[in-house]
Assembly symmetry: D4
Homo-oligomer: 252 residues x 8
């Protein structure tokens, strides 16, 4: 509730147009809709610039279907579900003729943003095994209205592959770097572009990669100034951060 709305409500209360009970209730009301097993945060886009997504892990397909129906009906925002396994996905998609299943990204896009954001997000991916996470970032960014470019399989052991992509990188307004194993790609990319660089460590690797810990630590210690990092395998979060940046760029 904004300050001007507050004054309006108080004025209406003083003038008797709103009862005391209604005023007290309005002041205490939360922008939350209760489904019993979940509460929709329908004002989230207003507050955060990004609508709530459906985190599919640990939810049944029926729960996902119910939440998606509700979100589609009460908002006009994009609606996506992440971390949906293949089996759940087919029953969900059957219930929504317009929904799109991105298999490698493990995502379902129920409704894409209606307007294109200004600015370009480039998702750079170190190895082919990192593609599911890179796809999650790319599909999310696209669903939220961004223009998305892709650069794939440019590990630092073949540094010429990275440098060959320098032009593409320099056209990006935001770069998302997705890398597992030693995760060194973020530093190299951060060193050749002035754009914001969001690093996503992946759990790809074995042994002393400790399921992504090695890549995570590498990226946090990047000697390229201003590289920022998300959770391991969090392509979705990286896309949201990139969209926050584009939203901001739009406003100024």
């Amino acid at each position: 509730m904004r300050p001007d709305e507050l004054k309006d409500l108080l004025r209406a209360t003083r003038e008797g147009r709103v009862s005391l009970e209604d005023a007290a209730s309005a002041l205490g009301r939360s922008p939350v809709e209760d489904l019993g097993f979940a509460r929709l945060d329908t004002h989230r886009e207003l507050r955060q610039g990004i609508p709530e997504a459906i985190y599919g892990a640990g939810k049944t397909s029926d729960e996902i279907i119910e939440i998606a129906h509700r979100m589609l009906s009460v908002t006009s925002s994009p609606v996506v579900a992440t971390r949906v396994d293949a089996k759940s996905a087919s029953s969900i998609v059957a219930a929504f003729p317009d929904a799109l299943h991105h298999e490698r990204a493990r995502m379902i896009v129920f409704r894409r943003a209606q307007n294109e954001l200004t600015g370009r997000i480039v998702v750079v991916c170190a190895g082919t095994s990192d593609l599911p996470v890179a796809d999650e970032a790319a599909v999310t960014a696209d669903a939220l209205g961004a223009v998305v470019g892709r650069v794939t399989d440019v590990g630092v052991a073949g540094i010429h592959r990275v440098l060959a992509s320098e032009a593409e990188l320099r056209e990006a307004d935001v770069v998302i770097v997705v890398a597992g194993m030693e995760g060194a790609l973020a530093s190299v990319v951060g060193g050749v572009t002035p754009a914001p660089v969001i690093a996503v460590p992946t759990s790809i690797g074995y042994g002393a990669s400790f399921e992504g810990l090695a890549a995570l630590l590498t990226m946090l210690n990047s000697c390229a100034a201003g590289v920022v990092v998300t959770n391991i395998d969090n392509g979705y979060g990286a896309a949201c951060a990139a969209v926050r940046i584009l939203n901001g760029g739009m406003r100024s």
Copy 2:
């Protein structure tokens, strides 16, 4: 070297205006200046949008003085040193009449940016013990040309303190959240602003804070979509990330 510069050089070579030796040398030359104990990366601002800073930890005051002199003479970029202890700082400042020592931030600003960036960075700080890191972020952002706002001592256990700052947060183009102990502030802030949120865990705490690990993990697992994270105590890096974002916003 940009593509158009490359063509120019080749044309000059073909027309004999540039000798073969000079052309080969120019194509192989690295934008690096060697001081013996350090190599200055004088083109870094060109590539990354942010000039190289002097990382003071483990350097003698004489080394810092020599590097600073050199950087001031070969570039027109802002020049700062970070992690300078109090004792080194006084001999360094003595050598540079115009330099400013920020004691709590452990920084020296030799030269500030000459032009103001468009956009506002707000540095939010959970507790008074986190101020040195928050200051490092604020001083760096200011030196690189940003307008900086501050919100201090708004821990989540007094959630009303955070909400009381909502207006200030909503005016930010980028928010930097600095918090130690459980680091939960980043999630709360990320939930009430659409701006990009850069979370900086600090090493403040004891016992199971494990010198910042607890705050770092909290921030990486933030349930607020799109919060990104830097290394523990890395106020400098957070400011650089914020400046990368403002640079980008400027360009579009």
Copy 3:
């Protein structure tokens, strides 16, 4: 054995009413019943205020059935089993017509407490994926005789959802906060209620949540004074702690 009982026994021994052998045996006897593969601690409720529960993990359904039968026959306390998988549960429930299987909580309640405890426990849960742990806490507390309230899906990224529940929280005599991922909910709740707050980290999350470690560290480092913590996913233990508190409140 209480001091007065000890004196009685000694007096009976002196007066010859109890033989030396019987006295020595009584003084050495342990309140433990041996089933061969397990020893029932039948005096536990006397000592700890909470009867022994059957920890189902790693036990066959036959073992659970035998222990439950024995406990029902030698005590009048509530009898529950935790961490019972779905398959075991159905054969167990078949053997006890009065037993209740709580599927999501993975619990079986063989006998509920006969008297209601005074005081109200509220179980607050951050996300829908944390519900199995929250249910374990709620079912246990109910079986031990407590009145239980529930608040669900109030993650800190939507801080307004938490604040909307403030009235419910303020009616609690004990609050149990169940949260995975970054676990920040405990600090926020601890900041808005004067009741004891028991925080239960869950293993929900991925990557740098390290199976609940992130939430555990967050809760241990809570800046809300007086928040206490249980093991990861230990809804049962949180309910027992809450019942210890209500027991105590009763006594004073």
Copy 4:
């Protein structure tokens, strides 16, 4: 602001006794006082049942003095500072004739609670090296108005020492167990008392104690149902949790 206060304010506004501006301001006002370098949370006792304490680590003695003065003048709550080193303590105590310095606990009590809480907190301590943490718990609990009992040097390797204290333990309304090294005392105590047991791991030990990690893990995994845990060395937090419990017991 409680619901009845809200209705009062709205009624006063409707009746013109309070201006629109004042009402809007009252509804938006945060119970926070800004000292520049710190914000006092003067309503914290109202919300949490426990007033804000001054965390001394990383604060100058002047800062502590200023905050203490302010807190003494704006509230009638108890005022304490924790983690104050010996040198700071003497200059602080010099400024407050009524303040009491508890050296081993590293605490200063500026003002004790004016009323005694009903109920008894017993602080049990495994070894003499754990005494600073046990003292922090005991001094805090006393300052907040509790009656405090002490049991000291009862490590589990001499289990008879623990059992010899059983009577004292059984008189407690809340037991705080302070132990380093292997921290097993919490389980044993939890097994012989029905009272709430709050376990505080300490950083006492060497090698594989990993500065308290071993004791922390032991306590989190306690097989005594309902033992809850605080951060390593957090005697202050344990006392606050105990006071929350006594507060609650009072109310019912």
Copy 5:
């Protein structure tokens, strides 16, 4: 080769009874038999007092059968296999009419020691879930010729159960304590017996037990002087250590 054997060989060489080639070969020969995929260390009992066992994990049943056959034919020592899964066990047992399969211990005893060791090993076990590891210790100790006593389900939360077993403990020449979760039993037992105490942490537990790490750290930090520790779940190693002790006691 013992010093006296060496002199004998040299004398025989000098006297021509042994050729130079044979002497050089004897001095260089290793007491190892090569099966291609494994080398049997047939002199191990001589050197270590304990014959080599067959570590079943990662071996096919055919490999185990071949090694067992070979060991039975070239030595008269006891022969056992550990960590044999149920499926492999049945085909192995089919091939050796005299072999005994201990299911819960996951062991096969092909041949037991022919002579009884003097002295008694008591295996104490905290909970029923720890029984597989306790069984591995007991079956191994028995196979190597020891008299084995058992005390089961005596967790520290019911300290009276432990004390009730004090007589049994005091009869032991070596005590093996097997415990998961918080592993505190080792300290309590170490405090009531003068016998050597070998602590075996188990991987039983969940959450912050980190698959036995909590119990391991507890036991390493035991405040009972002289408690020693094996790897997590290493019942076999504990039995070997106990047998080394009984062997030694025999010799003095």
Copy 6:
């Protein structure tokens, strides 16, 4: 591009034999071939002395087949795939009549090196459970053209088994030591040979081996000067390091 090639290209450009466009393109071109889902680094052998291998984990058999076909057609280097599971392997081998599947090593060799390297690599393996990793090293080294010797099952607890192999070890130009559990073999071998020793920790073990961490730390802390280490289970990398060494020895 070598300096002499650069001069040739510039001369050709000056003389008009090469167009400006072609020269710019040649100077910018990357030796990378794009398959859509993967980019082949066809110049890698030139740069690193070792051709790119196909990392099978997380790739479908179809992807492996396509990459292998492409690599066989554009290079004359050896071509191998690692970490190929048994099921994928059979469909892959069906597509390449000349390919060899090494089951225990989980590798497919599509084409072996055409020339033998000078020098001998000896792969020493501590236990039979470590054989899959030792095989990966041996098969890779052989495919890259090395002569490979094997020493198997020589754990340090039977130190005579190691010493019995001293002659074989002393004939090696490079020794690869593969060991899990405590990984001590690397130090012992490093102490008896002057050859380069490459230590490969394996994930074999249980409990406090923490999936190879124990062996990794042991090897990194080896007191034998000059032992170097690879990632856990990285037999492939060890072989590559050994081949780099033989390549170098060849050159001098």
Copy 7:
């Protein structure tokens, strides 16, 4: 209190030779003497076979002096203090003319055992930097009455140094192996002696030794059957374990 003592007491009570009050008191009395800041466990030698030692870390020299005086006066057991820093040691030794200060072991021996134990403990030490811990073990064992042999500086990288000591090792009734860095010595020693082997990891090393963690893990994963382990740097505990073993050997 032993069973026969119990019967005696009961008989005396029945016959009126002991009053009811005295009997109740005797049965409830704990063998603990309270110094205010510490409780002496004067019956510990009776229960554990080893008297309580004074753990010097974190105690003032005055506290150590008072405890030592008390222990010397109430028992006839050996009395030692461990982890006493050099400065405390000189004031302590000044107060006890008969006390011996072992500087490198950081121990003070106030009174040695009056009778020699049968059996020989050999303390083997990997490097000269490990000597303080080896000394702590040797001095403790000697003070408790054992005959102690020493083997020093026999790291596994010079395996011949270990083998050269085989005779000495084979004369030991218990071997204590003290090693830092990679800690592999325990496995090698465990492989060449049938005696019980107690491994003590030390914090000697740097980098990935992680203050003794590497050596600890190595020793826990030892492939030599029956090697047992103490806490890092716990020479005292190893000696106590060895004395427990010799005590036992004595009894049989």
Copy 8:
């Protein structure tokens, strides 16, 4: 003792030229010289190709002086001491007129190798703070007889600095890469040279560098095939590994 020497000794024994006692003694003798507090391994160069060095940490200057004197007198090998602090160094150097103190490397070279090795070692260093470790590698390699090249301050964030050094890298027979923080340099260097690459992580960094752990994990997970790794800060070990390689190259 080589096989031919063994036969000679046996022949001399048979022919009576050597007494039985002398022969037995010769066969049992270890190539170790005992200084009381240390045992010199005078045959180490023979066995390992590298003479024993004096590890200075934890040794007094007198001990270092005595060991150095002894080593200079009994061998003709190079003699160096590592990790010597500045204060010890000056008294040591005073005792050896020919010794050279390398301050930043914390090393003393008492005697350099008399013959130059064939082949060139290049030490590449990421940042100026990593120089002490790089110096340790370079000084050691030089003392052991190698030709050493240096490349300094070539962090990956300025990838052009690395590429500018490609020529120097390609001339190396072995490359040692020294890097802290994220340690990504090893992968980039490993990707542009066919020489063996030995990666040395340093403890330079802060926060999530965890004292070198981040760089260590990065290097272990390097996607450049055949990069091998040493302990954190182990410049000495890297040089020894490089010399083992050059030794080998020499032999073939």
